[in-house]
Amino acid sequence: MAKSTAGQQGSKVRSDCYIEITSKRIGGIKLEFKSKVDVMYGESIRTTILDMCKFFELKHVNILVEDYGALPTTLMARFEMAVKRLNPKMEKEYLPDFNKKNKYTTVKDKLRRSRLYLPGNEPKFYPNAGLHKPDGVILDLEDSVAPPEKDSAQLIVRNALRAIDFYGSERMVRINQLPQGLDDLKYIVPHNIHVILIPKVETAEQIKEVDAEVQRLRKLHKIKNDIFFMPIIESALGVINAYEIATASNNNCALAIGLEDYTADIGTQRTNEGKESFFARASLVNAAKAAGIQAIDTVFSDVNDMDALRESVLEAKGLGFEGKGCIHPRQIQVVHEAFAPTEVEITKAQKIVAAFEDAKSKGLGVVSIGSKMIDAPVVKRAINTLKIVEKIK
């Protein structure tokens, strides 16, 4: 008799479940079931479990389900995990229906001011994440997932991409560091992923490896939508190679920096002042801009200090960054406000663009406001400012 388990157990668990499957030679399927939503959804849960038994051809098993209000997609992922841990050769996938609200696509230069990290193996955070209106949600397979649960997180994230409505937020997944991360791709590429965050990138070669595997999977699954990459630079070597990394694939939409690992790599610690990372951040902005993609700053980790967050975003904006990582939904609004062009900036930009249009229509080579001449880069910046205003709307 072999036994496998999956999911989470304990009085503090919510919106998740625990599954135990014990295989036996005879006796058919025996289901033991405890649920806090037994009255409301007990029948539906039993039906799902029995359907999955049929799908995975389980004939003689004892099944224990302890349910703490797991949504159907979570229950399915947990059960499938238990099946696959019992029988590692099982390759079939029990997929929840693809929610038709999840068919939206993205564009390469989408606004990416805020990206909200969601731990891959914690499905309770998923259904409401999009309500807080981050520009992107990141389902994280990397640092927030304990090594023994990497396989669970793959299934939870796959099912979430199919079933959970993220309300228009860009759909991102952070895969694991290569080579492990290459294995993650088959769980996400077929399910309308928009942006893949690739952690701890040090060489252009790594991006090419991911790109090749993504293209293989796209062809295999006949995926038509664009899938973009956001390499995360988290080491001294990565910083040195930033431009090569940024230009390694046409599918790169941004370069991001991760400072915890970077400061460890150069043998120092993060300070609020950030002198130790100035070189890296400035290099990264420069490399990204040279490659024509976005530069995205690290996460801000003190969830209680909104003033410091605002300061940090304004500083990042000053350095040329266009986005910041969030680890709590309450940070999103502050990040958006801080990245937004100010009234003064907008008014000035409108004047400059109006003068530019005027000059163009009159066939003049020189743009001027009053007696002041306006240089071409100033016009470009004004146009950019108004583009951002347009996107925020």
Partner: protein, 518 residues
């Protein structure tokens, strides 16, 4: 048990615990005639002229009060989950061999799980008050001998005043009292704030016993309870656990989803035009409500708006608003933390209220209907805006009504609730138990959007173009069902067995709670 359909279409009994009851007739439809209940006349010559009514102990006081089988004993919940006195009271009654008591608390708490043994052995016949947690489970499974009755705080006052409930002995926990029986809750080691819930009992009960763990020489000032209504005074070592009577600090929720709901409520008040100088609002002490008050406060400061009064369970957050001159008054119905208690003692703008002044439906007006915006919770709301606050979707009794029903008469009633909890939908097709008719519920604020009752055309118009996520309640209902995996099944209940009835604010029966079949 014979059941009839009341005006809300719910099945209710016409007789409960051997007494006739009136089915709900509609909002503002039932108007009783006649006179209020009159308490027996007493003569001061029968009481000690030196004003010393101190009895040896609780047992002696109960004996002097003539305790016998089948009596109605009332207690009050101002000690909340720190209440030890009620448990000691029933230990004493049990040791005296008295049976079949009707327990008439203003609310019960998890600490009262201790009393299940007395429901089992017949000391207590049934409960008329609230049946929370373990008591709710016990009642829902049909184990209580009599049928439970749930009333709002205002309904409790009304039931005593109208003579629906005749209280034989009221036992009032008093954090400070004098030998005459003057009592206050705003000081003493068990300080809890105010004693308003005990007002009706002190006025109308046959016998009133004040129990204190801080007996001081006459006069006890202020006297929230008047000694002239009191028969006996008992001194005990401790009324309860101070840490559970009031919290040291009340916590605002950290849940991002609840904060989002709170923010939407504050935004709604702003965009609907309710937030203006001289306005009033009520917010409870639940995490979401506290957060709402904080968001509202920011807006008030920004727009230079001052409230005339705030009704509440008072907390340090409301106290700060009073002290920062953002409101003229706090009308306090229940004090939740130490700062609230301190403010009540020190600040003349921090007023004591009672279920009589705030809520009583059979009075010449009450404060509840004068409030511009009331923010409440609920266990369920249905697509017709009907709301439930007493049972869970699995059919079990979970909470008391508190002032919730009474607050339904506020000018704009807002229910701030998550659209589902874990996998349990809160927006449903039909409430498990009807506690407030949908015609009184104006706005539902969830993390998935704000639904305005279609009859509030003024509000719908006011928030047009505001950018608020306005949806219909059916849209939210549909979305929740999609997330939770279909429409939830209804609990299996035995429609022949009513375990408790829900009274409306006028004393009529608005719904029944049925025995849960396991």
């Amino acid at each position: 048990m014979k059941l009839v359909k009341n005006a809300a279409g719910r099945l209710v009994p016409t007789e409960i615990n051997g007494k006739k009851v009136i089915p709900f007739k509609g909002v503002n439809k039932y108007k009783p005639t006649g006179n209020k209940y009159g308490a027996p006349i007493k003569s001061c010559s029968d009481y000690p002229l030196d004003g010393n009514k101190v009895a040896k102990n609780l047992c002696e006081a109960l004996k002097k009060a003539g305790l016998k089988n089948g009596m109605t004993i009332s207690t009050h919940h101002h000690l909340r989950n720190g209440d030890i006195l009620t448990n000691i009271l029933f230990d004493t009654i049990n040791s005296m061999g008295v049976k079949n008591i009707r327990w008439f608390p203003s609310a019960s708490f998890p600490v009262h799980e201790h009393l299940i043994q007395y429901l089992e052995d017949g000391t207590i016949h049934h409960i008329e008050g609230s049946m929370n947690g373990p008591l709710g489970k016990y009642t829902s499974e049909g184990k209580m001998k009599g049928t439970g009755v749930l009333r709002s705080h205002g309904g409790r006052y009304q039931s005593i005043q109208d003579g629906d409930v005749h209280v034989n002995i009221a036992v009032i926990a008093a954090p400070t009292a004098d030998p005459l029986g003057n009592a206050t809750g705003d000081r003493g080691k068990s300080a809890c704030g105010l004693l308003g819930f005990a007002l009706a009992d002190s006025e109308y009960a046959d016998n009133v016993i004040v129990v204190t763990d801080n007996l001081i020489p006459f006069p006890c000032s202020p006297w929230q309870i008047q000694g002239n209504n009191v028969d006996h005074v008992v001194e005990v070592d401790s009324l309860g656990d101070p840490a559970k009577i009031v919290s040291g600090t009340t916590q605002v929720t950290k849940s991002p989803d609840r904060l989002l709901i709170a923010e939407y409520v504050a935004d709604f008040l702003e965009h609907s035009g309710i937030l203006k100088d001289g306005f009033s609002f009520q917010a409870g002490a639940g995490g979401t409500n506290l957060a709402f008050a904080l968001y509202l406060k920011e807006k008030m400061i920004k727009k230079n708006i001052k409230a005339r009064f705030i009704r509440g369970g008072s907390t340090k957050y409301l106290v700060e608003m009073l002290e920062e001159d953002l409101t003229d008054y706090i009308l306090d119905g229940q004090t939740f933390d130490l700062e609230g208690v301190r403010s009540m003692r020190e600040n003349s703008g921090h007023l004591n209220t009672s279920p009589f002044t705030s809520y009583n439906f059979h009075g010449k007006g009450n404060f509840a209907s004068m409030i511009d915006a009331v923010v409440l919770g609920a266990t369920e709301v249905d697509i017709n805006f009907n709301a439930n606050v007493v049972t869970h979707s699995d059919g079990y009794l979970l909470h008391g009504i508190g002032g919730w029903q009474n607050c339904m008469f506020g000018k704009t009633v807002i229910l701030a609730i998550p659209s589902f909890r874990d996998r349990i939908p809160v927006i449903v097709d039909e409430v498990t138990t009807l506690v407030a008719p949908g015609e009184l519920v104006d706005v539902i604020v969830t993390e998935r959007g704000i639904a305005i009752n279609p009859k509030r055309k003024d509000l719908l118009k006011a928030v047009e173009g505001s950018g608020l996520p306005i949806k219909t309640i059916k849209e939210i209902y549909k979305e929740v069902n999609e997330i939770c995996g279909g429409k939830p099944a209804k609990p299996k209940v035995n429609k022949d067995e009513v375990v408790a009835i829900i009274k409306w604010v006028d004393g009529t029966v608005i719904d029944s709670v049925f025995k849960v079949e396991k």
